[in-house]
């Protein structure tokens, strides 16, 4: 079954087209990397899927149902690019996690955040904060996880741990993952599919074909550096 089905979707900011007639379908349990140059419409696509922007043309379906706020809040977990939070913000990790449903200690253990549950969120490192934000998104047991360049500003080691964690969530929990990223090198090692966007769907294929798809999207000069699990 398609977790996300997008048909003839278009969106323009002040008359400037960002997405034109895009159609694709992401099956349940897939781990899709969404790639494309800056300004190609990736974040706009995420915002449309999250209901933050209304589609100007076309349709979006989640598990066969037309998109609604109730479904998005129930089925989709979202990890934004970077949580910009004041360094004085007084909230413990547990307080933040409790904002999105009852505390799931099993989930926290799996994400490796159990040990700092009573620490102030702002005292954590960037990688630890990102884990908490993922836990926050997963706290309500979503079926789909949308992440918008979540590894920006995180060191390489933490990035790899983070991707491995996503892969584990996808493999073991069958969470459908849509990861917007510029880090094309990680795709063959962690993702199942790759969707290339540049105002329209340029290509959509298995992650193993990433080098060819990257060339199609970014041009012949694109060079891929592989990550290894």
């Amino acid at each position: 079954m398609a977790a996300i089905k997008v048909k003839d979707l278009s969106f323009a900011y002040n008359g400037f087209p960002v997405l034109g007639d895009i159609s694709f379908s992401i099956k349940e349990g897939d781990f899709v990397a969404v790639i494309g140059p800056n300004g190609s419409g990736k974040t706009t696509l995420a915002k449309l899927l999250l209901g933050m922007l209304p589609p100007q043309k076309g349709s979006i379906q989640l598990f066969g149902n037309p998109i609604s706020h109730e479904q998005v809040s129930k089925w989709i977990g979202y990890v934004p690019q970077k949580i910009t939070i004041d360094k004085l913000f007084p909230a413990t990790v547990d307080e933040i996690l409790a904002l999105n449903g009852p505390l799931d200690h099993r989930l926290h253990e799996r994400l490796g955040i159990e040990s700092f549950h009573d620490k102030r969120f702002t005292e954590l490192s960037g990688g630890q904060q990102q884990r908490v934000v993922i836990a926050l998104a997963l706290q309500a047991n979503p079926k789909i996880l949308i992440l918008d360049e979540p590894s920006v500003g995180i060191d390489l080691k933490t990035q790899r741990e983070f991707y491995a964690l996503l892969k584990q969530l996808n493999d073991k929990e069958n969470v459908t993952i849509m990861l917007i990223t510029h880090d094309v090198g990680m795709i063959p090692s962690y993702c199942k599919s790759v969707l290339c966007i540049n105002h329209q769907v340029c290509c959509y294929g298995p992650a193993s074909e990433t080098p060819e798809l990257v060339k199609k999207t970014y041009g012949q000069l694109a060079v891929m550096h592989h990550h290894h699990e």
Binding site: S73, P80, I85, P90, L99, K119, R120, L136
Partner: protein, 268 residues
């Protein structure tokens, strides 16, 4: 002490001060952490115009302040939605209120003394209407926090994620602005327009030094606000100085006192 409590005006000042401090202490963390510290100042100064106009037209000043504060709060919200900078929008309404107030003072001489009490606060002359409004305000805010606490904290943490989680976030934020405006009005009675920011901001600045959790900050902010207000009223009586200034000085003292545990930790 007993002598002090035998005066009706002191009983009203302590009761009213307690209620107002309680309300400000509860609202303060949400105001500060949403970066709305200056909003209170803007609304208060905007109300100055409203109060002056009310005195000129014979409308009960507190009612005029209530109306103008709500209008001021929503005007700021609307201007920010229209992509005006938040601080610029606050500055705009602040200037308008003060400008209007000055014109009205110029037009109608005679109530300057009355108006002055709104500038510097007048806890010692609280009326039963003020007390009734302070009770209503506290009840309203406690009910609001019980109902919308989670969404308020969530949207203070991250507005985007909070809106995704619940549709009622936008509504809660609108009600919050309304309640900030009303809190400003009742704070004007305690410390006056010129010092209203102190009641809305300093309690949280104190709490942030002492607590690492949101709930702890809320509790500490409320305790600091109540302590400074009650001790301030009593001290002002014995020292024969204005209570509003005394309360603010005590809040400052508590703020500096709250740094001590941190300094001790750093030294050890």
């Amino acid at each position: 002490m007993l002598e002090l409590l035998s005066y009706g005006f002191m009983q009203k000042a302590l009761l009213g001060g307690f209620l107002i401090a309680f309300t400000c202490g509860l609202m303060s963390p949400f105001i500060v952490l949403r970066r709305l510290s200056l909003l209170g100042d803007g609304i208060a100064h905007f109300s100055f115009g409203g109060i002056a106009l009310g005195l000129l037209l014979g409308i009960e000043p507190i009612i005029a302040a209530l109306i103008s504060a709500v209008v001021g709060g929503f005007v700021v919200q609307k201007l920010v939605k229209k992509n005006l900078y938040g601080d610029a929008a606050i500055s705009l309404i602040l200037s308008f209120g003060v400008g209007l107030g000055i014109i009205v003072i110029g037009l109608a001489r005679g109530f300057n003394v009355n108006l002055f009490s709104y500038l510097i606060g007048s806890l010692l002359s609280l009326s039963y209407l003020d007390i009734a409004l302070a009770v209503a305000m506290l009840v309203l805010i406690v009910l609001f926090l019980v109902w919308g606490y989670k969404q308020l904290v969530f949207s203070s943490f991250n507005q985007e994620l909070a809106e995704l989680r619940s549709k009622k976030t936008i509504f809660i934020n609108t009600v919050f602005i309304l309640l900030v405006a009303l809190t400003v009005v009742i704070s004007i009675r305690a410390v006056g327009i010129l010092l209203v920011s102190a009641m809305l901001v300093i309690p949280t600045l104190i709490a942030l030094q002492l607590s690492k959790s949101f709930k702890g900050t809320l509790v500490m902010s409320t305790i600091a606000s109540i302590l400074a207000t009650l001790i301030g009223i009593i001290a002002s009586y014995y020292l024969n100085i204005p209570p509003s200034g005394t309360i603010v000085m005590l809040l400052f003292l508590l703020f500096f006192g709250a740094q001590i545990p941190k300094l001790v930790r750093a030294a050890s």
